[in-house]
């Protein structure tokens, strides 16, 4: 049984359209779960349901065996890092971080000790007396994280915490977050719409679309075995065709899942050779683009247009006839 369980959650802002539909999700203890999906798919909404900031219309949320569905926000003891950070502008860094502890009537000395420790972990020692306005974006981010962590939350929730940072800082911060999360062993839910960021730090990834979970798996599993066309497209598959077509053209033989109707392959997994290439399908190069590491070709074949990326030394000109090979192990079948 998992640590946290969302079951059959429905959410509607206007009582007509459902933003989340029958959503179920498992959070494993000590792991970092990412919610990944296009803008507007309901990631923030899901996170806010977990935090208790939104009441779902139906469904339940259990954590560690206790029903949390109707527990009020301030009694949940979850740490949340907001996209805007939501640091209290009138309080110093120290007072921001100590805010939650003071509400728990922790003694002065203990507060100082715990705040000091968490600031050290987050790498913001020495900024105690500053106000949020006097910090850089990355520092604010760390203060927000420290503030959420110091209350020793049962769950850490992060809503696109890196989206306001520049590219280099994002890279650095995501490593920090991962390190701190592992060090403290804290179960976390991380919202993002950046695929690379998500795959690099998650133990589990939930891909969302239109208020539903499309697939929830480890990053490796999602990368190599997407469960649906949407997920496949999301993780870089470009070439889709029906099984019927593939069998007709002898790309695959009989030994595959008979339930499958679709199959797909990444551009870089297709083998490209000249027209003498055996076990291949002929095609004509129509467009060639240079990508730096590789050339990308749009090839016209009996399957339709196929996108191929090739880092081979041989370069084909537009109009050239080529042969395409589809390695069996790289083909992914979709139901």
């Amino acid at each position: 049984m998992s640590y946290g369980e969302l079951r059959h959650i429905n959410v509607s802002y206007d009582k007509k359209n459902f933003v989340l539909q029958d959503l179920s999700l498992d959070i494993h203890e000590g792991e970092l779960l990412s919610l990944l999906g296009p803008s507007g798919c309901g990631k923030t909404t899901t996170l806010r349901v977990i935090a208790g900031l939104i009441d779902p219309v139906g469904g339940t949320f259990e954590l560690d065996g206790t029903d949390m569905t109707h527990v009020q926000v301030h009694k949940r003891n979850f740490g949340m890092v907001f996209q805007s950070y939501a640091l209290f502008p009138h309080l110093t860094v120290f007072d921001n971080i100590a805010f939650g502890l003071k509400l728990r009537n922790v003694e002065e000395a203990a507060i100082r000790k715990q705040v000091g420790k968490i600031m050290e972990i987050c790498g913001i020692e020495g900024f105690e007396k500053r106000f949020p306005k006097q910090l850089s974006g990355g520092q604010r981010q760390r203060v927000a994280l420290a503030r959420a962590l110091v209350i020793e939350p049962k769950l850490l929730l992060l809503d696109e915490p890196l989206s306001n940072l520049d590219a280099q800082l994002r890279l650095q911060m995501r490593t920090s977050i991962k390190r701190i999360q592992q060090e403290l062993g804290i179960s976390s839910v991380f919202v993002t719409h950046d695929q690379e960021e998500c795959f690099s730090i998650s133990d589990q990834v939930a891909i969302m679309q239109n208020g539903k979970i499309e697939q929830c798996d480890s990053p490796e599993q999602i990368y190599s075995h997407p469960a649906s066309e949407m997920v496949a497209r999301f993780v870089g598959f470009r070439n889709f065709f029906t099984v019927e077509q593939a069998v007709g053209l002898h790309i695959v033989a009989g030994n595959f899942d008979k339930m499958a109707t679709m199959m797909c392959i990444r551009p870089e997994d297709i083998v490209l050779g000249d027209k003498t290439f055996s076990v291949s399908m002929p095609g004509t190069v129509e467009v060639r683009t240079y990508l730096g590491k590789a050339y990308q070709y749009e090839v016209k074949t009996p399957l339709g247009m196929v996108t191929v990326a090739s880092s081979e030394d041989t370069v084909y000109a537009v109009g050239a006839t080529v042969g395409l090979g589809f390695p069996r192990e790289k083909l992914v079948f979709l139901n």
Binding site: V73, H74, G79, A86, F88, P89, H90, R104, R130, A148
Partner: protein
């Protein structure tokens, strides 16, 4: 950057036009001559003494101060309540109400004074001091609502949510994390309300009565019959008061900044 000579000339004439009359008042208030005239005759504080000897001026000064204090205090409290509702629940009704709350600054003051007089005093026969307070509340309403609303909109909505997730009960979240950040706005709303109520003539003029006069109108009466620098002296005192208010406001606004500067210096 290049400036045409004409621009400089117009600008300095403009500054002179704005400041010389005020300087004239200040200078003549210390002059011993009993009319506003140049050249100066000699230094004297007699006009300042005269202000305090004038029963009507002193009484109306007290009235004006109390009136401005009461109406601005009530004004910012009500303004805060209304702003919370308007900002936290936007929509058609809120938009309409906001424009109603702001309308007293669009309608000519004298019209407001007249309709208030006609309705509250003539029709409803309310006591004058109550009518005067209501009238001044109406005068300060646009300032408190506009300033507090603007500031409240600027404050990140997730502050309250952040406080909740950290364990703050909903009943205390607003007080703990939103209200402190509204302080500068509340102070400037109070100052602007105070100054506008204190200087108001058209509304007070209609709602005055025996013993219920306000300072600006008393000054106006005084000018009609006396031409001496008493009013200059009074004006100088008012300017001093205004200056103190302005500096106090500036100071309280930058207090936060100073505090944080000090922290930065460490």
């Amino acid at each position: 950057m290049y400036k045409h000579r004409l621009v400089t000339i117009v600008a300095w004439l403009c500054f002179a036009f704005i400041f010389l009359p005020l300087i004239l008042i200040v200078v003549t208030s210390f002059n011993s001559a009993d009319s506003i005239s140049l050249p100066l005759e000699g230094f004297s504080l007699q006009w300042f003494v005269k202000v305090f000897r004038s029963r009507s001026l002193v009484q109306s000064l007290k009235n004006s101060l109390v009136l401005a204090l009461v109406s601005s205090t009530i004004g910012i409290v009500f303004g805060l309540l209304s702003s919370i509702a308007l900002v936290k629940r936007p929509g058609k009704i809120s938009t309409i109400l906001l424009s109603i709350f702001l309308s007293p600054s669009l309608i000519p003051g004298i019209v407001i004074g007249y309709v208030l007089f006609h309705f509250l005093v003539v029709s409803l026969q309310l006591p004058l001091n109550l009518a005067l307070i209501l009238g001044h509340l109406l005068v300060v309403m646009p300032y408190s609502v506009r300033i507090i609303c603007a500031s409240l909109k600027d404050i990140d909505e997730s502050l309250e949510e952040a406080a909740l997730t950290l364990g703050c009960p909903p009943s205390r979240a607003f007080m703990k994390v939103v209200l402190p950040n509204l302080r500068p706005a509340m102070i400037s709303a109070f100052m602007l309300s105070f100054i506008n109520s204190f200087n108001n003539i058209p509304v007070s003029m209609y709602l005055k009565g025996p013993g219920m006069n306000t300072l600006p109108y008393a000054m106006m009466n005084h000018i009609e019959y006396n031409y001496d620098p008493t009013v200059s002296a009074l004006s100088v005192m008012l300017m001093g008061l205004t200056l103190v208010l302005m500096i106090a406001m500036d100071w309280s606004m930058s207090a936060q900044r100073l505090k944080s500067k000090a922290a930065q210096g460490e």
